[in-house]
Symmetry: C2
Subunit: 333 residues, 2 copies
Amino acid sequence: MSDTGGASPAAPPFGDRLAAAVAARESQVVLGIDPDTTKLWPDAVEAMAESRERLVHALADAERSTGLVGGPNRDIRLQAAAAVLAHCLALVDAAGPACVAVKPQLAHFERLGFAGLLALEATVAHARAQDLLVIADAKRGDIASTATAYAQAWLGDVPTPFGRTTGLHADAMTLNPLLGADALEPFAAMARERGAGLFVLVRTSNPGAADLFDLELADGGPLWERLARLVAVTGTPGPESGLAEICAVTGATEPEHLARMRELMPHTVFLLPGIGAQGGSVEALAPAFAPGRAGGLVSASRSIADAHAAAGGPPGEAARAEAERLRAQAWAL
Amino acid sequence: MSDTGGASPAAPPFGDRLAAAVAARESQVVLGIDPDTTKLWPDAVEAMAESRERLVHALADAERSTGLVGGPNRDIRLQAAAAVLAHCLALVDAAGPACVAVKPQLAHFERLGFAGLLALEATVAHARAQDLLVIADAKRGDIASTATAYAQAWLGDVPTPFGRTTGLHADAMTLNPLLGADALEPFAAMARERGAGLFVLVRTSNPGAADLFDLELADGGPLWERLARLVAVTGTPGPESGLAEICAVTGATEPEHLARMRELMPHTVFLLPGIGAQGGSVEALAPAFAPGRAGGLVSASRSIADAHAAAGGPPGEAARAEAERLRAQAWAL
């Protein structure tokens, strides 16, 4: 993690930063990083074996002298985190060149506790060093005092008795809006201050999303339209790109909704999950790109990391090919 | 963190475990642990100074030998995490005896990165050693594959190439239901397997909660009633207590809703935040306790940790008195 990378007080608004990055890299692809501890790339994990052992020994020393570091599964968690990190670095090296951003899914790091957070921080630093934007897939949402702490954790700085320290300094994060506008405000204030982006859930791509997002409201329209209006009024279009810092997660498995979403959110960047593993297709996404190429980001995770299962060959080569295929396909729309 | 503490495959259903704990401790109070790095208890932090220095040095050695541990603000984050831990241990020691559970708010630990997770794990181990239940205030919610990872992180075990390891093994966690029933299912399966509980947001206590939770649906009733029905059908009452493992977060600042909530969720444990700092009052909560004392848990955070600001005296003594006052008040209802 770099002090100077990522969103910062001097940074332009997120929409402008994103549009510039999409143009420079000729890519709208977001590399989802969801490391499955049962499906890590074997070559990458093996290459990390020696430093993994060094790490475990060093941390065991630290625990003996302090009593603070660890717990009963410390060594397994550290070894697993080092393996996850090795996998993530190889994935970023392979697929990153075809992408504009990475989107680490925090759950897959959190489940290794403190060791997983170390792997996350090192993965983010590696992606940033390759000029990739970082979108923390957190889906956080809480009352205002807690929201402030989450915004510090993933986008900003943290005041402590020992001086200010940095959170992850992601360029953007995903949010769950269920708690209402006042719960979004601490995140929005932080995003404006630091040139960061917020991707608010408007309609997700899972089968059960219909349970709540599609509920019809008494005064007309489904719940997701209400969320879309909230996103539209909260964001401010960037002066160069016309794209706002408040963005939307818009499930690609319901492409018939995209035209309506664009109507409700003319200045909003859409993050389109559901390509590949979740069954969406790139061609149906054209309305997303109406405000320009950066208006629609195409996210893919398992379809890239697991590409070798279908394509054969080394995982890195298959991932590189699949990411480039997706990049060219979206860029041509 | 203990391997044997917390929810486990041999544990009875959560509702029964909770009812037994409430009876044994004669308390329905949940101690919210939301450590504010700008308002830590000075005495507790000072007492930790020496071990804090040892920790920083040990981890610096670990970073030198591996290159993995740290980042530019490592020392500040470690010192802050050690101070947060000292504060949390003192808070649990002071207020814990009047409580049945602790509820660490994950945001306040996450914002110190890997160091904050270490403090969280040590805080949880300390609470568990004092027979307090642990409710991870996570408000997570995501598509099924990610939900499985979050359930592993906070309630269960994690498969790795190096063997299984444990997550936090909390007794329960809070969830955001916006993504629908299929996104809750991996959590529910884990909860049933391990005797854990899930506290699903039905109506929160922040001012903006009305924005979405109170929206009237086309087929009648507000959104929160739909969430209440989802909670009621997903849970199974425990054979001894009649209380289900799927519980509800029900904002105490809207007490006029509680009778209706109890009607819709007759077997559900209500977690009632909003006492104290958020403006609720204990007397208005009586309907929550209809299925028995464990049917309503009273959560308090800042009103206990910051009690010395109003009451004067050492923070620990003020916290102990405020927690006991709240315990006696709720128990008498």
